[in-house]
């Protein structure tokens, strides 16, 4: 139905998909990063609010001590 050169173009994709279909897929999406020289996987979509809260939680703790010092 399709020219042979088209099929050849898509063959690696089909092969890759066929291979993935044999594996168990994990629902979450990951990125690979390095921490202390070791490769680790994190799930960024699940960490969005956690990252935000960690940042501002830290900023507020620092701000509270600084305000205390400035008002003393």
């Amino acid at each position: 139905m399709f020219p042979r050169e088209w099929l050849d173009l898509f063959r690696p994709t089909f092969r890759h998909k066929a291979r993935l279909a044999r594996h168990q897929k994990i629902e979450a999406r990951f990125i690979k990063i390095e921490i202390d020289g070791e490769e680790v996987l994190i799930t960024p979509s699940m960490n969005i609010e956690w990252d935000f809260n960690n940042f501002f939680g830290f900023a507020h703790k620092i701000a509270d001590v600084a305000i205390e010092r400035l008002t003393a």
């Binding site: 092969r15 291979r19 993935l20 044999r22 594996h23 168990q24 897929k25 994990i26 629902e27 979450a28 999406r29 990951f30 990125i31 990063i33 390095e34 921490i35 202390d36 680790v40 996987l41 994190i42 799930t43 960024p44 979509s45 969005i48 609010e49 990252d51 935000f52 960690n54 940042f55 501002f56 830290f58 900023a59 507020h60 703790k61 620092i62 701000a63 509270d64 001590v65 600084a66 305000i67 010092r69 400035l70 008002t71």
Partner: protein
């Protein structure tokens, strides 16, 4: 089961295409001005309708205020031309026991489904062992293509993340549903806050008005009153107003695309996974967070007289030993906050992500597969 299939639910085929902006209705590829254009199947554009199934048992004297607030948002969206997106409240078909709740619900713009309570085999299988009325509620949500279910009747032992992962529908309480609505409309570029609702608010002042960071603003004000130098005051102002707004906006965009991804999974859209959009904002998010930590470091340097100069910038870092050593000498309480083990763990993770996107590559969340035992080697696959 008390109430089962009062009317027939829509078919799975109907569900697969409903509410998507781009719905494939042709057999052939599109042809315009004599040219055939490629068409990607199993894909769609952004979802522009947020569908919320309301368990009417949650409506009472205390919760009706939430319905009113949601109706205000719906009025605002209808005022915008063209209407950028829509929030639809749904309820299962009328149950005579909940007549008062139906009256309130429909008066405030809620729509009643043509079916009441159904049980879909895929939901029953996914939830397994959960009480029938919860299976029926979630089945109704899936049949109605709902993004969210507002309910308080969650059986003990039911894990919301697990249900979300299996059905791609979230069950939530009233405060959470309002937050999800904010994320949805903000994702469609409509700045809206239930805490501070207003018509036509631009983004520039939005977060400072709607969700102000009062602690950081107080720090800026106190530092001004204490006569801190102008460049330190500018760091504080910019952290409290500009960076807080930029991080809030990026966070909301990311959460919006997670919502979109959930809808895409529910519709089994294999090619539309919103991975690019999530990756794009994620790259920006990590850089914003890391630069925000640098900004805090310079504020600490000024506020606690650590005496690092601009030329010492390499030594002013959240995990830098010189920086932390001097901090311990001059501001022990601040050093304790920097060296808190949970914080250090998070900073190391952020550092890994930020350094990768700033120097190494593009952070694109990807699927993960567990290799089965009989998987041929890479060489064998290539030869096939």
């Amino acid at each position: 089961m008390a109430a089962l299939a009062w009317m027939r639910p829509p078919t799975t085929a109907a569900l697969a295409t409903r509410n998507l902006v781009a719905v494939k209705s042709r057999v052939m590829s599109p042809r315009v001005h004599g040219r055939i254009f490629p068409e990607t199947e199993s894909s769609a554009l952004l979802r522009r309708e947020l569908r919320i199934l309301v368990d009417l048992r949650t409506i009472g004297r205390e919760t009706v205020a939430h319905l009113v607030e949601l109706d205000v948002l719906r009025h605002y969206l209808q005022d915008l031309r063209p209407e950028p997106c829509r929030v639809t409240l749904l309820a299962p078909a009328a149950n005579p026991e909940l007549r008062a709740q139906y009256e309130v619900f429909t008066r405030l713009g809620g729509e009643t489904l043509s079916y009441g309570s159904v049980v879909l085999p895929e939901v029953s299988n996914a939830l397994g062992g959960v009480p029938d009325d919860f299976v029926a509620l979630m089945s109704t949500a899936v049949a109605a293509d709902a993004d969210l279910v507002v309910t308080e009747a969650v059986p003990s032992g039911v894990d919301s993340q697990e249900v979300r992962g299996k059905l791609h529908v979230a069950f939530v309480d009233w405060p959470t549903v309002k937050r999800e609505c904010e994320i949805f409309v903000r994702g469609h570029e409509v700045p809206w806050s239930f805490a501070c609702p207003s018509w036509y608010c631009p983004w520039t002042p939005f977060y400072s008005i709607a969700e102000p960071d009062t602690t950081l603003i107080r720090l800026w004000e106190r530092a001004g009153a204490a006569g801190m130098p102008p460049d330190t005051l500018e760091l504080m102002r910019s952290l409290a107003l500009n960076r807080h707004a930029a991080l809030s906006y990026t966070r909301d965009k990311l959460l919006f695309y997670v919502q979109q991804e959930r809808a895409a999974k529910r519709h089994k859209l294999h090619l539309q996974d919103f991975a690019f959009e999530i990756g794009y904002f994620l790259n920006h998010y990590y850089v914003l967070l890391w630069a925000g930590l640098d900004q805090i470091n310079w504020i600490v340097n000024a506020a606690f007289n650590l005496e690092f100069r601009t030329k010492d910038w390499r030594r002013v870092g959240t995990l830098n030993k010189d920086f932390l050593r001097r901090m311990r000498e001059r501001a022990q309480r601040v050093a304790d906050i920097y060296e808190d083990s949970d914080f250090v763990r998070w900073v190391k993770m952020l550092a890994g992500a930020r350094h990768f996107v700033a120097h190494g590559g593009f952070s694109m969340p990807t699927e993960l597969y567990i290799r089965s035992g009989d998987d041929p080697s890479d060489d064998n696959w290539t030869r096939r």
